[in-house]
Symmetry: D2
Subunit: 301 residues, 4 copies
């Protein structure tokens, strides 16, 4: 669908409603937000706003919530205390186009509604994810899970892109050949296509589970490609439920979890004791995590 | 909230939206639909219409769905073939007030979002479900799970109502006494209140899981009180997604499941054979279920 | 792991337990059951037997279940009446190796616990699903979802196998080249591998949800490859919970759903009326489904 | 069932199994652990041990887990990093007897399998939860959600117990009267029973979701009565999966979540700055939570 078609559709389907409306979401509804080389995110529908969370919380927590009089404060309180059910009162529906290997991470989030394009019933397009040259180098340098001891130079990155284009191009050519010339079923023909091929999905999820998705997938440990989608969805959340977005960023996304042992170590440091990995009683890995979590590098060396 | 307040609110919160709108749902939004003696159902929000189901199905089933060109036919097809995921693309949020014993059945449906009024934080109102005189008699006559061998006369029904009023009235009096005069915590004081006391809940669920709820709870085996709510929600579904409602009623709510053995019995009957429980190979219970399912009483006696 | 290693392990880990035991499951525990060309299913653990379902049902349905005195009859009753929660009291854990395109269907069943081999952390083996020659022809002939108007001959099938071997072989060669010679991360290198590559998963699910999985995936509409796995799991279920297996086969797997309209049509036929698609009021598709469901072909032509 | 019957049953059902066995769980299997005045917890079955978590994690995280060579270290790592799926590989089944008001909190945990005693089908016993005298006073003193400004003396507590006994005794008497003398159905008669009446449930849940339950219900904010059950289940978890128990206690149960703002405040304190609520930028509530979380009371006054 062309962008001007979407604009036309946006004009035509304007209606009255008594439901709560998020003006910022209305502005982006149906618009394709490009992702990676062939993908996109499109908001199809939403239910509720920050006010809906407050409304439900005031039923649940009754008297207790009267003390927190304004909505922002109440939402902060709910987020801080792990009162998650009011956030389930908002819902969003996205249309997402992404490579299959991204979809395979995405689908692991079970509390969501999904309708995916079926390659048993329809022919897949000739669209495969090929990373950008710079991205290949960056990912290889920072990725500790891969083999990245050898620095990635531009020549190598270019060879990689060439290989990816060749492998996926060849696979797609054979795919159409098997479909058109050899009468093979779609369900078997598609088995030779690489996991970089793009698929499409309607994905509907409540806000609480969306935030959990974003906590994991906008995290630096998530693979770059799904992180791109997650970061864009974070912007959508900011437009949709701005109080919730702020609370999430402060109290969950950027919060850190400190074990009982580490609370003790921090207290010893506040008393002026010099703490090192050796006298901390922590393993090397856990020590490093502790230093990172409370940003203690200035204090422990 | 008074009904004219709701009307005022309805006027004030009218907005423009680009989302799909169900005109029939807009008419009933926020209005309290009275249930039993103190309860109600109120539609707070909804997402999607019949068109949203079609939209998602056409992504999923692609080419296969082109053959079924009009929306109603496609929805019938999806319902008949158990393709349930497109129905998950619609969502509804209800505000429901019901007795706790009804809530205890309701909450067993796990795939839903729930915020319930908390009797730990707030004081419960003096509102208890007392069945109507006629209902007591009816329920006792038809209920096979209870002891109903002795016919229920009006005098007995009146005594029952008196007992219920006395027990709940006494419990509520002691509840407020313990709260106000004896400084007992709300969380302990409420433990003496009967399960007929009313509670309130915000309940949000997708259409597929709602239909499953309705299949079980609008069924004649469900307790009368939850069935009242389920039947009213069926009317809401009819207003909201009329094609889906028709498909559900025909292919699921009023459909019957026939085992392989019973398909064979039906074929023998079509061939002219006289089938009885004795020569059917079915147990008495299963035979009766078979006769009821295919409405065969005229043919087997 | 070699089969004799498994046998040794089986000997060594024999223990006493007070838990209910399924002797037939003990016989197959840990043994690899080969699937397709490189896959397998292995039972890792199980909880409960038919007796556990009965045990839970007698708590739930109390008095009502006393009438059905023996276990088999009670399990039949539960299955027939859609009382599904007692079946959730049994659990199974499988280790399964399957192609990614099979896994993508498998994972859609959300009520399960999953740990999958990660191609971000580990290198995938050079194992790709290549269908057998005969299977290619069979699948193309019967598959209505693919383009199968042109009969598949052996020469074409052989060409298809050659293409599949070439495409996956080439992809795997480039995969190892990018990993070993070009220092690419595993997470990017694997994106060129086709969805026919094998993955492994630990999969744990309760019996009710397993039966739902089997209802859909052992169905003739499921793709052949996942159907192979589902049919094998059906055999495992038969060994594990034989009463439940029989009840499932009779009342769910091989049962048919008949709409209210079709119940009426069947009654008209029993009365001796000649029913055709034209006078049935059904669409062509629904008529054919009705005839198939009640196996009426002898009576309608 | 009498305890010696259980012992006899324990002797009789001893079997061989190849499944992994937890010796400590075998010791407590089927034994009733008394809870509150009439309740109990009984372990009915379990699947897996710490070793099962490690087994699944090594499949999922492959190479990455080789660095952490011993099981305890790997389980700590998984817990610390929120890798929750391997913990889903263990399952437990409990038989629990508890008051209905406890059950109403319990059932909110949706990812579990439940079979509850049905008061529609069976008659409830004359068993109601009556708190102990001391407990009434303690709960009223510490409970900030109730009205506890007036100190609870023993005389008041005794009056409360008397009221509770009278209200539940009266309700039960009327319940049996309506059942036996007035032919009322069970499903209606039970509506006058208070939520302190005991019910029974078979409850099956995976370890990850059990830990989430324990995080919330063994927390000091949970109502005392459900906390008793949660604390006892914590002991069961310790016997069952000791490494997981330790990791859970250190990294989740007793861990604290620190927001980005509070990490900054802690750094300022480490630099020697005097931080107070006033110069912290935090609300009073959040400040108090921060001080409690990092146990800073010695440093901020």
């Amino acid at each position: 669908m062309q962008e001007n078609d979407i604009e036309k559709m946006r004009e035509e389907c304007k209606s009255d409603t008594l439901r709560v409306v998020s003006p910022e979401m209305e502005k982006i509804l149906y618009k394709k937000i490009p992702m990676l080389d062939h993908g996109f995110i499109r908001v199809i529908d939403y239910m509720g706003t920050d006010a809906s969370i407050v409304q439900a919380a005031r039923v649940s927590y009754g008297v207790g919530t009267k003390k927190v009089q304004e909505d922002r404060g109440l939402i902060n309180y709910l987020m801080r205390h792990g009162h998650t059910t009011p956030f389930e009162m908002c819902e969003i529906k996205l249309h997402v186009k992404m490579p299959i290997f991204v979809m395979r991470h995405w689908i692991r989030h079970r509390t969501a509604n999904v309708n995916e394009y079926s390659a048993r019933y329809s022919v897949l397009n000739n669209e495969f994810y090929i990373p950008e040259l710079d991205q290949i180098a960056r990912q290889s340098e920072t990725n500790k899970q891969g083999k990245a001891d050898v620095a990635m130079d531009q020549a190598k990155a270019r060879e990689i892109v060439d290989i990816m284009n060749e492998v996926s191009g060849n696979a797609y050519e054979k795919y159409t050949h098997m479909l058109n010339d050899l009468s093979l079923t779609r369900e078997l023909a598609r088995t030779i296509l690489p996991v970089s091929v793009y698929t499409e999905v309607y994905w509907k999820i409540d806000l609480h589970n969306l935030l959990h998705f974003l906590k994991l997938r906008a995290d630096s440990h998530a693979q770059y490609e799904i992180r791109c989608y997650a970061n864009k969805i974070l912007e959508i959340v900011k437009a949709w439920v701005p109080f919730t977005y702020d609370a999430f960023m402060n109290y969950r996304k950027n919060s850190v979890s400190i074990s009982q042992k580490c609370v003790e170590l921090n207290k010893r440091m506040l008393k002026g004791e010099k703490i090192t990995q050796e006298n901390s009683g922590l393993s090397k890995g856990e020590w490093q995590e502790f230093v990172n979590a409370l940003d203690l590098s200035d204090f422990v060396n």
